[in-house]
């Protein structure tokens, strides 16, 4: 379709290859177009797209591929269709704790689920081909825009005022008639009317040809829209940069400080509280069921300033902010957000402060500090010495009958001490201590300790000597640095859309040759408004014409 032959117009202007309407006078350049008398296609003002060339190289071919709007539309349709595939079943990244997604798809959805997983559709939006499509759309956006906006800008900034008759008469809005008297005076009179409607007027030196134009800026709308879209796409792609997007969960028991994985932050829960509705507040169907009314985590966010990854030292933390996290009230700090996600009201024993009682004398020694984890190995209590020999978080006997622990949570803690003191063997005697009453009974502490149980006792006096976490809070940690760019891209794109939608670029050309007026006008939309404007202006100069008589056919809504 590219015609390498003569691109020089009869007006003397040398046009680029691929030009449809002469860049200067507007005369159609293609022969078959010259013969026809249908309204002209005014897209991009008939100028050549930048990439149209006679001898395309490989770079040109790649460029031309992405420069095609047809290809762009195909790409968009394919992307929409494949994006739909991703919505058939839940995506893998929506599971919080599922290490075996293949089982989920097969068990929940049967064979289709199995196929779905096997095709990789369970990760549609992170797949290489979907990202590839987005990249291609982005490329197409850039190249399509660039190839059209630059020639269009050039064409619109150096417009010829006196146009070829063929150009004028084959616009979609045309008026031909006689003008009496001085041509220049009539043009001035007509121009004054158009000026009042907001047109900018250009006349040539003879005074008998005119171009009136308004709202040219609306032509840049689509390109501004594309800039916004490109930014939007780049922001989406930028999410794959490490540290730009995060969506994880942390479990924080009351009083604990927990590292937020992948960041330099630590979060402490000073206390988690939950209120439940009482029965009077609930409808009959819900009475007796625990319905949370409000839950809140008193959270403190720390930043590690030193010894952050030294295994021999504990990290040095500095408080950066604190917030009472509630529903819809996350803790926010520099793009990091901590949301309340869930809770668990199972208490956890942290430490006890027991006393040692000498049963023969009745003397009480202590209390001493006995944390469940990493306790001091020696406790001196009056004449007695307790040497910690072993500790178990969840005491049990293994298959060989040896003491063991079933987990690393203090569910049934046990301590084995070697006790030395008055009346005891010099090498010490073993004493087993279960801080929880239920375990004392279950494992019959007194019979394990035998004779020593009659000599001494380790016991906790009152709840004030028990240190435990009442609850555990689960927080959702989110970070999305791309979000602000998405907003900016979206706003720019919307500005472009509004510019191109609510204004129209209207142009009116006319020339008077020996009393014969030829008027052609073009708008990129709303020809009805354009015709009304022209008819009104003509009426003021004494030419009565029905607006719809100006309609020269063509598809002109």
């Amino acid at each position: 379709m590219l015609v390498p032959e003569n691109t020089k117009c009869e007006c003397g202007h040398q046009n680029a290859v691929g030009t449809v309407l002469c860049e200067s006078c507007g005369k159609p350049l293609l022969e078959e177009l010259q013969k026809a008398d249908t309204p002209l296609e005014m897209r991009y003002d008939g100028v050549a797209r930048r990439s149209q060339k006679t001898n395309p190289s490989i770079i040109d071919r790649v460029w031309n591929f992405f420069s095609s709007v047809k290809i762009a539309i195909y790409l968009i349709i394919i992307t929409f269709l494949t994006a739909m595939l991703g919505t058939i079943y839940p995506q893998e990244n929506s599971f919080i704790n599922n290490s075996e997604p293949w089982l989920y798809y097969e068990q929940t959805h049967g064979l289709p689920g199995k196929i779905y997983y096997a095709l990789g559709l369970s990760r549609t939006y992170e797949s290489w081909w979907f990202i590839g499509l987005l990249v291609m759309i982005g490329t197409s956006l850039v190249i399509c825009s660039l190839d059209r906006v630059l020639p269009l800008y050039r064409a619109l900034s150096k417009q010829q005022i006196r146009k070829h008759h063929q150009f004028l008469h084959r616009q979609k809005t045309v008026y031909r008639g006689e003008v009496e008297g001085n041509a220049g005076e009539w043009v001035d009179q007509f121009a004054a009317q158009l000026k009042r409607k907001g047109y900018t007027i250009h006349t040539d030196e003879s005074g008998a040809a005119m171009l009136a134009e308004k709202n040219r800026f609306s032509r840049w709308g689509p390109y501004i829209n594309h800039i916004g879209l490109i930014l939007f796409l780049l922001a989406i792609l930028a999410r794959s940069i490490p540290g730009w997007q995060m969506d994880t969960y942390v479990t924080v028991p009351d009083g604990d400080t927990v590292e937020i994985q992948g960041t330099n932050y630590y979060v402490k829960s000073e206390k988690f509280t939950v209120d439940f509705y009482n029965d009077e507040e609930l409808p009959d169907s819900l009475k007796g069921k625990p319905r949370p009314k409000n839950f809140e985590t008193k959270a403190v966010l720390y930043q590690c300033v030193q010894d952050c990854s030294d295994p021999l030292k504990s990290p040095q933390l500095e408080e950066v902010t604190r917030h009472d996290i509630g529903v819809n009230s996350p803790l926010q700090y520099k793009g990091l957000k901590l949301f309340q996600f869930d809770f668990n009201l199972t208490p956890r024993l942290n430490a006890v402060h027991p006393v040692l009682v000498d049963k023969t004398t009745g003397d009480v020694y202590g209390p001493f500090d006995l944390p469940m984890k990493d306790s001091a190995l020696v406790h001196k209590l009056g004449p007695f010495t307790l040497e910690l020999y072993a500790n178990y978080m969840e005491f049990a006997l293994d298959s060989e009958g040896k003491p063991t622990t079933l987990s690393r949570e203090p569910n049934a803690p046990a301590f084995v001490f070697t006790v030395k003191g008055p009346g005891l063997k010099p090498e010490g005697e073993p004493y087993m201590y279960f801080p929880m009453q239920k375990d004392k009974v279950r494992f019959s502490q007194d019979s394990i300790n035998r004779a020593l149980a009659d000599r001494i006792e380790i016991r906790v006096d009152g709840m004030e000597n028990v240190d435990f976490s009442e609850a555990t809070t689960f927080l959702n940690v989110r970070m999305d640095k791309a979000l602000s760019f998405l907003w900016v891209g979206g706003i720019i794109s919307m500005i472009g859309l509004v510019m191109g939608t609510y204004w129209q670029h209207r142009r009116i050309w006319l020339r008077i040759d020996e009393g014969k007026l030829s008027l052609g006008a073009h708008s990129n939309k709303n020809f009805f408004g354009l015709r009304a404007e022209i008819a009104a202006a003509l009426k003021k100069t004494g030419i009565e014409v029905e607006p719809k008589r100006l309609d020269n056919g063509g598809n002109n809504a």
Binding site: I59, N98, P101, I131, T139, V142, E259, T404, T405, R408
Partner: protein
């Protein structure tokens, strides 16, 4: 004008190639969201101390085949595995095999008592606050990672292994 135009074209196409290549590349080489390591992946780095306070890093053993085993005294199959690893370590030590047994964030006394009971010669390292365990995406115990001398994962085995299971894998690891 023609020359600057060609330049712009080339610059834009190169930019597309770099940005697009990066975006597509990260999807191809990304680890799963659930953090599970796959064969061929580079296992996450760590720096952990043993009971004597010597710090070891995974990178200290670059160029050597390494077995990284996560264990806890609360996990019976882990406990059963320990003497097997000890025998395997003695068998293959000369060929350059390293065994790093990472304890699952238990307290010092527990680890000490455990090691005393078994007389283990290989490195017992101590995770703190479940950090390393999490970075390796551990779901159940024991889990053992067989890392080739090029620093890439050969296999991750979840669950207890018999001595024969370990032996077979070490042979593959040493490319015998």
């Amino acid at each position: 004008m023609g020359k600057s135009r060609r330049k712009i074209q080339i610059v834009i196409l190169i930019a597309v190639f770099i940005i697009g290549g990066y975006a597509i590349g990260t999807t191809l080489f990304a680890q799963n969201d659930n953090g599970q390591l796959r064969p061929g992946d580079k296992p996450p780095a760590f720096a952990l101390a043993d009971l004597d306070g010597n710090v070891f890093q995974l990178s200290d053993f670059e160029g050597k085949p390494v077995i990284v085993n996560f264990w806890g005294s609360f996990c019976e199959p882990c406990v059963r595995e320990m003497p097997e690893f000890q025998r395997q370590y003695l068998k293959w030590q000369e060929k350059g095999l390293t065994v790093l047994a990472i304890n699952l964030s238990e307290d010092t006394l527990t680890v000490q008592n455990f090691v005393k009971r078994f007389q283990l010669d290989y490195h017992i390292l101590r995770d703190i606050g479940r950090k390393t365990e999490r970075s390796y995406g551990l779901r159940s115990y024991p889990t053992t990672f067989f890392i080739r001398s090029d620093g890439r994962l050969m296999e991750a085995v979840v669950g207890g292994m018999s001595e024969e299971d370990i032996d077979k894998r070490v042979e593959r690891l040493l490319e015998l």
